[in-house]
Amino acid sequence: MNQQNFPVQVAPLESCREPGPEERSMLRKVLDRVGQYCQSRSLFVLHYCTGCGAIELPPSMTSRFDLERVGMQPMVTPRQADILLITGYLSVKTLKRVILTYEQMQSPKYVMGFGSCTINGGMYWNSYATVKRLGDYIPVDTYIAGCMPRPEAIQQGFLDLIERIDGGRAVAWKDYYRNYDRYLGHQQHLFGRDWLTPTDVVGEAAHYRLAGDGTLGPHTALLDQYAGYHQAWGVPREQYAELEASS
């Protein structure tokens, strides 16, 4: 999909520069530190088994390897989960559900690619039915290599993720807002130009002031055919900039 197919002129959302860690006030630094510490020690993993990696999750979660030691538990609803675990290959049908699930989850949210299939297609590199690179469709924080990854590898992956959350480095979810156009373009390439999710990601990006240079683009311009569909914030898209300025 090249630029010429989209002769739409896109006015960029007013992007908001995030202050660097050294520019923050002392109080903000302390609050961030406490928040990150708490976040990293109480994580709920969404119990959605997309592929064969799910078979190594019960051993990791139950008594032998016991992930509850590090404060992790399975959670059945996406709205209360922190980690979306993509356990293995994704067929196109599953990817749709995964994207809907991911957009339902509340920030901050973390995605873990599990097994070789999410990295480069793995064993199914030439399959017509599976998605080869998960990172094209949703932002991924960490990957665990292997087919199938052993429970020890899963544990190490989770510990790595905890360390990154603790250090404030697990910020891939912000990338979804900042470069939404890129992710949406890949999704539209797969699902067609009339692809629409119930979540108004552009509206959320404007609301939380997470919009970046890549939030709007030729692909999000296609969403204009559904203007008025998303009533989430009750504000037309043209007024996002005003909304930002006033808040």
Partner: protein
């Protein structure tokens, strides 16, 4: 006051509604969904909604060498991968007229039965978990891990072994392995009474599982049910006895059956099968040291290994039911066509749609799991 343009809208009766059961649901055995039509909490109609795990195995296998496919086939069914490798290997051996050494046949039997033990232990845990009994799930998973450790020692991998190859097995059993296997079997036998107390003889489980998802023997035959689900209806059909492969004709074992055909009968049949598998494994342990010889028939260069024209159908009694591979060769280095006859497809689609009708919503997860269908194999 109603507006002028008011038109009454006809709704269906409000006690009837549709429920999307999955793909993320408590009967979780994989990525598989049901569309359930409910009246109150009684199921009126069910449609299976698969395809979440489709990878196109049969097409992928046509593009890989005969020996490369060994890496692909165990991924068809995740909890019970060994029968996949073994059945495919046997089809290739028939096509290539390869004689498998006797020792390799005994080792393959050992692997098949160990895989059945892991699959059944996982099943016990899963069936209990669908009723909310999580302690039994913890037990089943941790006991299964003991057998997986043995698999790791034997094959180098916990889940996908890729150990059986056309012509034999990849390597010989390590020293002291049979002793450790024997100790693990002792341990599993001592665990069974505890499982009985917690799960099998538990009145709560009996009340929940009795009468859930019943099948009559006629229905089972009509719907193509095989394996433990068929034996739970009272039909003693087992490929290990009725169409013996490998060395099963030299082994002694019973074929446990139950007559009720409901979820409880299916679980109890699997419990008896676990005992029979342990019994078979003990016979293999006693016999294996006296069977000497090579473990693999010599194979030509796999890059130039052309199998002659022809087709072969082989079938195995896997822990889920009858598993078959139909392999066609046109004389090339790759299969011309492979068809997998999986047991789960019959169970999870046509049988499940029929036997859940009239049941209650909270039993759907349990019935789904009691058929022990394996969604990756349904979608392939």
């Amino acid at each position: 006051m109603r507006p002028e343009n008011y038109k009454p809208v006809k709704h269906p009766p409000s006690e009837e509604y549709d429920l999307y059961f999955g793909p993320n649901h408590p009967g979780i055995e994989g990525n598989y969904a049901l569309k359930v039509r409910l009246s109150g909490d009684e199921v009126q109609h069910v449609r299976a909604d698969g395809g979440y795990l489709h990878r196109g195995f049969e097409k992928l296998m046509e593009e890989r060498l005969w020996i490369q496919n060994i890496a692909l086939v165990p991924r068809i069914c995740v909890p019970d991968p060994v029968p996949m490798e073994e059945t495919y290997s046997r089809a290739v051996e028939i096509l290539g007229q390869i004689e498998v050494p006797e020792r390799a046949q005994w080792i393959r039997t050992l692997c098949l039965e160990m895989s059945r033990v892991t699959a059944h232990l996982f099943y016990f845990g899963g069936h209990a978990a669908t009723m909310g009994m999580y302690s039994n799930m913890f037990w089943g998973v941790s006991d299964r891990d003991r057998v997986l450790d043995l698999f790791e020692e034997l094959t180098g991998a916990r889940v996908y072994h890729m150990y059986t190859t056309p012509g034999g097995v990849r390597r010989d059993i390590p020293e002291g392995f049979l002793q450790r296997l024997s100790e693990t079997l002792d341990y599993l036998e001592t665990r069974l009474p505890e499982f009985d107390d917690l799960f099998f003889a538990n009145p709560v489980v009996e009340n929940r599982a009795r009468g859930a998802g019943p099948m009559s023997p006629e229905q089972a035959l009509e719907w193509g049910v095989t394996g433990p689900n068929l034996r739970a209806c009272g039909l003693p059909f087992d490929l290990r006895r009725d169409d013996p492969y490998l060395v099963y004709d030299q082994l002694e074992f019973d074929i446990p059956t139950r007559s009720e055909g409901d979820a409880y009968a299916r679980t109890m049949v699997r419990r008896e099968e676990l005992i029979q598998s342990i019994y078979i494994l003990r016979q293999v342990i006693a016999r294996l040291p006296s069977v000497k010889g090579p473990i693999r028939a010599p194979l030509p260069n796999p890059l130039a290994w052309n199998l002659p024209h022809g087709d072969a159908y082989t079938r195995t009694e896997s822990s889920k039911g009858e598993l078959g591979f139909f392999v066609v060769s046109n004389g090339g280095t790759r299969p011309w066509r492979v068809h997998v006859r999986g047991p789960s497809q019959m169970h999870a689609v046509q049988v499940l749609e029929q036997i859940t009708v009239g049941q209650r919503l909270e039993d759907v997860a349990q019935i789904m799991f009691s058929l022990d269908a394996c969604p990756p194999e349904v979608d392939r």
